[in-house]
């Protein structure tokens, strides 16, 4: 009779399992056919093992958060891993006591209440359980502090909560202190506690704890567990389980598509709201603190994303770089833009009436060069590329020398997917018909879309920094080293976008002294000129640019080098030292 207190817990758990079963079932059922086949194919391979390892490392131990912020990492780990161990050890305790693992699910949860007598290994197990409880309680304590004062965690702003979040969070806060008190009350009455519960029990004995009080505490503990389980699927804590699903799907090679689909939804719900993405975002410099990825994901879940927030993002990729859950934040945002603008895409009918012959050189070309809109705006870069190619005797076709269509990336960034496809088809045909084995580009924005969306088959796509380094290595050009000091700015689309960090640096080392910057390579800052942002005002851009320049120019270099015409164009209007594209530097240093 007095065992009714297990009901809130049990009902809560059943509700949780039913909801999860339906939710995950639907998500998986709605994956595309190909994705499902991929899962079936991969399920009995090493990938499953890798996914299990990563689930433990990230889902339980929170290694990535740890690396960025040890205190925050400890908080997440103590709650997740500690609770997990508490359940595992609870089951072992049940086994030692009853000789079987097939106990009712509430036995390990309310073990102290049910078992007052001796069993093999009792002392060790009880103390171990106490230790784990202490471990979790330290995490809960940190969570209280985090709510009160997020600054000690190095987080500028902590995330806002919805009613279900609040309910689940408060329940979570209460679960472990209540467990401590309930176990201590039992320990006070029956003397079956460990080092922690016995200490609290000594206090309880002073106030003469009665079986009624004991029962009330166990009820309270059970209710807080039940409330947490019922609230969980509708709250942020859903991420704990969704992340594990996401890790498995990611290991099975499922990729995010342009259109928002079931997999995108799984990613959205995997966000733990750890807040790591908030801090790295440069928009804070311009006092914009409502559009960071964590808020966008929340808006997607709550279906209240406004255009202004959606479009106010540089798509610089810094947040994606640091996200411990490895959510494809950039592409997710783009997929939302695709959804928002799908009713008005251009068809570029005029492309059909353009003269459509591909330029030729007579001989088999080595390279087809696409300058793109931005390079055409920076004639210095264009001239330098041509100069280097001529000097190295490269037989090339200049694809958009006179007239050319845009590469399509700016449209893609704005979510104009169907429109971008029209330009892609137009350019793609020309590139394939040229017969050149290499496509050379001098703009990382073009580079990104050529690599991701063009499907050029055998043709290798090269950014000029990669191609020029090859020319040097093959001895087709040689560079003279000067004594100027150079700092290099990694363009977002080239660095984080296409993973090219070393080639530009190799080239620069051959022409001068390369200085390092405080934030570079994967953590380089955005120049602020990004085409990814549609609503950022010019004054705000300038504020962000000034901050970036401060970091880059810290060591007083002679030259600020970059590898993107847009970065160059952006920086030129803000500094009084030379800003040069790597193409110009190479062209000048040729012997």
């Amino acid at each position: 009779m007095e065992n009714y207190f297990i009901l809130p817990f049990t009902l809560g758990m059943i509700t949780l399992f039913v909801i999860l079963f339906i939710k995950y079932g639907l998500w998986i059922a709605r994956l595309s056919h190909i994705d499902k086949l991929r899962i079936i194919q991969c399920i009995f391979t090493r990938r499953t093992w890798d996914a299990i390892v990563e689930s433990v490392m990230e889902g339980l131990l929170h290694r990535s958060i740890f690396k960025r912020n040890p205190l925050l990492g400890y908080m997440h780990m103590s709650l997740a891993f500690g609770w997990f161990l508490l359940i595992v050890v609870g089951h072992i305790e049940g086994f030692l006591c009853y000789g079987t693992f097939a106990n009712a699910p509430w036995i390990p949860i309310f073990f102290q209440y049910f078992v007052h007598y001796q069993f093999p290994g009792e002392r060790i197990m009880t103390n171990l359980m106490d230790f784990l409880l202490l471990f979790i309680l330290s995490g809960v304590l940190l969570a209280y502090f985090k709510r009160l004062n997020s600054k000690i965690f190095g987080i500028k702003k902590t995330t806002k909560l919805k009613p279900f979040d609040k309910m689940a969070m408060i329940a979570l806060w209460f679960i472990f202190p209540l467990r401590l008190f309930a176990e201590s009350a039992t320990a006070a009455l029956y003397g079956n506690g460990g080092f922690l519960t016995n200490s609290v029990a000594n206090l309880f004995i002073l106030i003469h704890v009665t079986p009624t009080m004991e029962s009330i505490l166990w009820w309270a503990y059970s209710i807080s567990l039940g409330l947490f389980f019922v609230g969980m699927p509708f709250s942020r804590y859903m991420h704990i389980l969704t992340e594990v699903l996401f890790i498995f799907l990611r290991h099975y090679g499922i990729k995010l598509k342009k259109q928002f689909n079931s997999y995108s939804r799984i990613q959205v719900y995997s966000c733990s709201r750890c807040g790591v993405c908030i801090d790295v975002c440069q928009m804070h410099v311009a006092n914009i603190s409502n559009n960071q990825s964590v808020y966008i994901l929340k808006n997607i879940r709550d279906q209240n994303l406004t255009d202004r927030k959606l479009y106010n993002c540089l798509l610089c990729g810094r947040c994606e770089q640091v996200c411990p859950v490895k959510i494809n934040l950039n592409d997710l945002r783009i997929s939302q833009r695709i959804r928002a603008t799908k009713e008005y895409n251009s068809d570029y009918a005029f492309l059909q009436s353009l003269p459509n012959e591909t330029p030729t050189t007579g001989k088999q070309p080595e390279v087809i060069y696409f300058a793109g809109c931005m390079t055409h705006m920076t004639p210095g870069i264009k001239k330098s590329i041509v100069k280097v190619l001529d000097k190295a005797n490269v037989n090339y076709i200049f694809m958009d020398k006179e007239k050319g269509a845009c590469c399509g990336r700016p449209l893609m960034l704005a979510g104009q997917y169907e429109a971008a496809k029209k330009l892609i088809d137009f350019n793609r045909k020309k590139i394939l018909e040229s017969g050149a084995p290499v496509l050379l580009v001098s703009c990382p924005i073009c580079y990104k879309v050529f690599r991701d969306d063009y499907e050029l088959g055998q043709i290798t796509i090269k950014h000029h920094s990669e191609y020029f380094l090859e020319l040097v290595e093959q001895g087709r050009i040689s560079l003279k080293k000067s004594n100027s000091s150079i700092v290099y700015h990694d363009p977002c689309e080239l660095g984080r976008g296409c993973n090219v960090y070393e080639q530009p640096r190799e080239l620069l080392k051959k022409t001068g002294t390369l200085l390092s910057a405080k934030q570079e390579k994967v953590m380089s800052l955005c120049c602020s000129g990004s085409l990814g942002d549609l609503s950022l005002s010019m004054p705000d851009r300038n504020v962000i640019k000034a901050e970036t320049l401060k970091v880059l120019l810290q060591k007083n270099p002679d030259v600020l080098a970059t590898a993107c015409p847009l970065c160059k164009k952006t920086f030129v209007k803000g500094v009084n030292i030379q800003v040069k594209d790597i193409a110009e530097i190479v062209a000048n240093a040729m012997e």
Binding site: D347, H376, S537
Partner: protein, 114 residues
Amino acid sequence: MRNFGFTTTKSRTIDYEKIDTRLISYILQNEPSFNACLSCGSCTAICSAGNLTSFNIRKLSLQIRLGDIENTKLEIDKCMLCGKCLLECPRGINTRNVIMLIKKGLNIIDKNEI
């Protein structure tokens, strides 16, 4: 009326009372920087779409102010959103956003939502 064998041209007066301001108000509401356009034409000189077609973004910006929605619909689809105009504009106007707002505004007008 008596036919004298000649016709008068249509009045070229702009009647401010009759201008269709739905599109321009929608744009200005969401991108106030568009107010600062001085019709210098820098954007048009550099325009990628203008290089391929007769697209003239400066002219279009005037036509939008005069409420010529039909022509805007035909023209705006030529822009490739490349962003060159953004870099060239001396008034720091967020031209790419203006263009997206034109597209969205036209879509909303089509659906009779403004």
